[in-house]
Subunit: 282 residues, 2 copies
């Protein structure tokens, strides 16, 4: 379908996206752009990019430019890209926050060529080696401010994501960021904080290694995530994250209070309420 696709960033998301595009026959040539020489080398070695070029050259020859880098870098890089594209090219991002970026691009003369997307898939790993086949399938992809993008650009991005097995959800950027804080960002904070808790308590680490079962592993898995990716997400989505973090601390305090007062009934009630998640997440 496309002769040339540029991925800006050659990590988990962009790499997995590139692998999928090739596999589905959507791209003949994939160009990687990254400031990190070692990552470019690795991506070429792994074969999910066909060549590496500086941003300007890559954009000049690409039908689609797909940006998946930390959300604080996305804004200036995207502004640069938007200054380079014509009205046949498509630009999309994969960032976990949408409001700040959409806001920054809202008055850009080429805004219509940009599609704000958030494929809600990921793992705790990062970098080119983290890119995998068959990523994205079964998850939601949020498209924000659809009406500000050209119809052809939106349709192509929808088609790509659907071919990857995603279902599309439309949201306002502010609404996306709020729900993302509730359903994704807070999970990362609780997991980081749980790791710090257990590392503080089990100073030696050997007992964690010896004793940890599947329950601990699954709750602490996200604590392996890359701070360079997550710090900018938390900062850009600060108000929503603080809001849900306050709620979470207050929910933990309820457990604390139930235990302190040895209030078995209240403890049970808190857990019975939490069990309702079974009806939502199978």
């Amino acid at each position: 379908m496309f002769n040339n696709v540029t991925i800006v960033g050659v990590g988990l998301i962009s790499g997995s996206f590139a692998i999928a595009l090739k596999q589905k026959g959507f791209a003949k040539n994939i160009i990687g752009v990254s400031r990190t020489e070692a990552s470019i080398k690795k991506a070429l070695e792994l074969g999910f990019i066909d060549e590496a070029l500086p941003l300007e050259e890559a954009v000049a020859k690409s039908d689609l430019i797909y940006v998946a880098i930390p959300v604080d870098s996305t804004i200036p890089v995207m502004q640069k890209i938007m200054g380079l594209v014509n009205d046949k090219q498509i630009v999309a991002d994969a960032g976990s926050t949408k409001f700040a970026l959409c806001d920054a691009l809202s008055d850009h003369p080429m805004r219509k060529r940009f599609v704000a997307t958030h494929p809600m898939w990921g793992t705790e790993y990062s970098g080119p080696e983290a890119a995998v086949k068959d990523a994205f399938a079964g998850r939601a992809c949020v498209i924000c401010e659809k009406e500000k993008s050209d119809v052809d650009a939106v349709e192509i991005m929808e088609k790509l994501y659907r071919e990857l097995g995603m279902h599309i959800i439309y949201m306002e950027a502010a609404s996306h960021d709020m729900h993302a804080a509730y359903v994704s960002h807070i999970s990362h904070i609780t997991s980081f904080a749980l790791a710090n808790t257990v590392l503080e308590k089990e100073k030696e680490g050997d007992k964690i290694f010896e004793l940890a079962g599947g329950g601990f592993e699954s709750t602490v898995r996200l604590a392996k995530s890359n701070p360079a990716m997550w710090a900018p997400i938390f900062m850009q989505n600060r108000e929503n994250v603080l809001d849900v973090l306050n709620e979470h601390i207050s929910q933990l305090r309820k457990f604390k209070s139930a235990l302190e007062k040895e209030n078995m009934e209240y403890l049970d009630e808190l857990m019975v309420n939490a069990n309702k998640i079974s009806k939502i997440i199978k």
Copy 2:
């Protein structure tokens, strides 16, 4: 090896244990004991017990009696069983707390026939239907107060668990409970509290369903766990659980403070520290 093994409780742990005993050829006949008629019926239907008997009759004909019921019920049931066994029979439990039980049995004339064990495996599901093949493998099994049990009884339990693919760790009961609070119990509390947080924020539930990715699912998975099992664990291990819960709240407050002050450096530092868990949990 054994003619008759009794499992007291016919749920996740006892059922998976029964399946493994049969599969490994360790037991000819497995007797199920449960106060819940529907569970007995289901266990017979699933075939992991061969017959169901009242506790006294089951114990009378069994070589091994394996108790896996909520930890608050374990103490009175175990005291009853210990009053029924002779010095050829072996009694073991699989409870997630060890101090209260070991303490309650410490002066029992038959204490030596009892082996206090905690196979550190589980899932968020419960009841007979939750029992699975190939459970336990790759996880630790803690044996407490080994020196208070007869050598033959300990050796047999070790052999069974090793055949199931577990590695054995020896601990004092109080030490077990402390480490279990750090490595297992707090994960359950954070997960229950996370579910309550998100259910509070996403009142409709449809957005959770639409948007939730793998990260949320893995951190919230344990919130599906059975309150009837977990409330007694938290209560019996109250002091350790409160201790680690306080630490966890204080770790979350650090994230809150970093975000409130927009202190990117501190936020990054917290996450870099959490990343250390990668070296312990692969």
